[in-house]
């Protein structure tokens, strides 16, 4: 009954929402545009006609949005718009660099352990197992506590914490590719390991890892926010979204906008990275029969 069974499954698939995601909808483009906007603002923050994010105006504290301060001021009278845009800098710097470093290291480790297997794999996977045995935030807090609080250290810590996840994804993708015909063919043609890794395996695992990278950016922006919120991330007075939300907490009752404006900026950015990452994952997912 093969023909009918497949027809039955086809009928079931028609009902599945998963197929809907195949084309990039308007949500994808909205999310991409938001990311582009935030990145552009963060890069060109110095060139924009913004108020000084550090300048305190004690007479204009907790001011609601006005012509002078488009998004109002915080508890020290600092311009929230300027601080949100400069805060995007810190969030994106950490949010992009930590996953980037982790993706480079993790891809290398995962590819090598998936390709060569053996002792190297045992060692690499064993190490990631140990890192994964800690609740990630607790480990991050502990390392930052000992290492000292700075943007560089936060990037370093979050990169280290992200390596195990990337390693596993890269290894799984490599294992799947390794046995495919074109790799066997390349090997039969006498291609060396380096050439196979670079020409056959890497291009094939790059797309899923790219989609995963975007999701990791979203996660890292959240964790950076948590660290800064707890006062252990970006050191004040340098603006960061997490830090701004923490400062706004004390004025929550009288001036909720101080906490909620950076919160909305952060939520939209995290959501945008998740949306774009998920759309790309849905497209590159081999299980969906992309061929």
């Amino acid at each position: 009954m093969a023909a009918l069974d497949s027809a039955g499954k086809l009928a079931l698939e028609l009902e599945m929402p998963a197929r809907r995601r195949r084309r990039l909808g308007i949500v994808f483009w909205l999310a991409s545009s938001w990311i582009a906007l935030v990145v552009a603002l963060a890069i060109f923050a110095d060139l924009l006609p913004l108020a000084d994010p550090f300048a305190q105006a004690l007479l204009a504290r907790r001011a609601p949005p006005s012509a002078a301060h488009l998004l109002g001021t915080d508890a020290l009278g600092r311009d929230i718009l300027a601080r949100v845009i400069f805060g995007a800098r810190a969030s994106l710097e950490i949010g992009l660099l930590a996953p980037l470093a982790a993706t480079l290291v993790g891809t290398l480790l995962g590819m090598l352990s998936g390709y060569f297997r053996g002792r190297f794999e045992t060692f690499a996977i064993g190490t990631t197992d140990v890192l994964l045995a800690f609740p990630p935030l607790v480990l991050a807090l502990a390392i930052v506590a000992y290492l000292g609080q700075s943007v560089t250290n936060v990037i370093l810590v979050l990169a280290i914490l992200t390596v195990p996840a990337v390693t596993r994804v890269a290894r799984a993708a490599t294992l799947a590719i390794r046995e495919r015909e074109f790799v066997t063919a390349a090997r039969a043609l006498g291609a060396g390991h380096l050439r196979i890794l670079r020409r056959e395996i890497l291009p094939n695992i790059m797309l899923p890892l790219g989609a995963y990278f975007l999701v990791l950016v979203a996660v890292t922006v959240v964790v950076e926010g948590i660290l800064s919120f707890l006062g252990l991330g970006v050191p004040p007075p340098q603006p960061s979204w997490g830090g701004m939300i923490a400062e706004g907490r004390d004025s929550l009752d009288i001036a909720p906008h101080i906490a909620f404006i950076p919160a909305v900026a952060m939520f939209l950015t995290v959501l945008a990275f998740n949306l774009v990452g998920d759309s790309l994952r849905a497209i590159t997912d081999p299980r969906r029969g992309a061929s």
Partner: protein, 330 residues
């Protein structure tokens, strides 16, 4: 044959939605089955026989469209409320599916899978249902039924699992059992045992049965009547005896020729039916078998033949039926 039929199907059509438009899995099928009689439905993959069975059980995939009527004991199954349907299924209308590896729930014990139908339909208490389940396991030929009842499907062989599936089907003494390729997934040595078990239990319980198979050899001598399906339609229907005496449609004949014969001389070429069944999403005007039929003529390609009966209740859908040699000899 003048008894009121237990199951009566009238001009049944089943269409499944696909990306390429509706797939007409079953069209214009009419059948009737008297109480405690058995019917074999035979056809290749894609002939619509499983969808016919699923339509009777009302277990079609979501989005499937049904037309026509299926009357069970006078009630139209297509108009039955969900609740009434539920009371009927498992109680009066039971089923055994093709693959016992996938049709038993892997995380529930065998005993509880038999007992749950009994508690649902027969109002048995848990303990009584379990005792009955053990008795049923013994009836279908499973040794050490008490121990087996506590085991899980993965601890049993394929043949044993199919026996369990049969025990489940028999548990509430149904009046009709639909067995959809019950032996296809099993080892050849086990196949005959399962078929004999089904035939024996059917006679013992005076139960009607529809046995669906792709193998004409399976129905030979085991069912009272046979219906041959092709491309969603019945192309030939007769008593098993009459059909095997003389096939009237070229398709049934070709199907018969495709059965490997033990008594054939070694190295005889197996004759497979050339070509493949028509695309069910693209109906053609003529006889659906005509592109593969070696007797096809002009009329076959332009006009579909209706199912008509000869004087001995032997139905066939063919413009140019094979000669009835059995009658000529008389």
């Amino acid at each position: 044959m003048s008894e009121t039929p237990l199951l009566e199907i009238e001009d049944l059509a089943v269409a499944l939605p696909t990306e390429r438009g509706p797939l007409r899995a079953v069209s214009g099928v009419s059948l009737s089955l008297a109480p405690s009689r058995s019917l074999g439905i035979v056809g290749e993959s894609g002939s619509g026989k499983t969808m016919l069975a699923r339509a009777i059980l009302r277990l079609l995939p979501p989005g499937a469209r049904l037309a026509g009527a299926i009357r069970f004991d006078g009630r139209d199954l297509l108009r039955l409320s969900r609740r009434d349907l539920r009371r009927l299924r498992g109680r009066e209308l039971a089923a055994v599916f093709q693959d016992p590896m996938t049709s038993l729930n892997p995380v529930l014990s065998i005993g509880s899978q038999i007992a749950e139908a009994l508690t649902e339909h027969m109002g048995l208490a848990a303990r009584a249902a379990m005792a009955r389940a053990v008795a049923l396991l013994a009836e279908v030929g499973i040794p050490e039924p008490e121990r087996r009842a506590h085991q899980f499907p993965h601890q049993l062989s394929g043949g044993m699992r199919q026996r369990v599936a049969i025990a489940i089907a028999l548990s509430c003494e149904p009046r009709l059992l639909i067995a959809d390729e019950p032996t296809t997934a099993l080892d050849v040595t086990v196949q005959a045992q399962i078929l004999d078990l089904l035939a024996r239990e059917r006679q013992k319980r005076h139960m009607a049965m529809i046995l669906i198979t792709h193998d004409l050899g399976v129905v030979a001598g085991r069912t009272d009547d046979v219906a041959v399906m092709y491309a969603g339609r019945i192309v030939e229907r007769a008593s098993t005896r009459a059909l095997f005496r003389q096939m009237r449609s070229p398709y049934a004949e070709a199907l018969m020729a495709a059965i490997p014969r033990l008594d054939a001389p070694p190295h005889t070429r197996l004759s497979a039916i050339a070509g493949s069944p028509p695309d069910p999403t693209r109906p053609t005007p003529g006889c659906p078998f005509s592109p593969r039929c070696r007797y096809a003529r002009e009329r076959c390609r332009s006009e579909a033949p209706p199912l008509s009966a000869d004087s001995r209740d032997h139905h066939y859908a063919c413009w140019f039926p094979l000669p009835d040699r059995s009658r000529a000899e008389v």
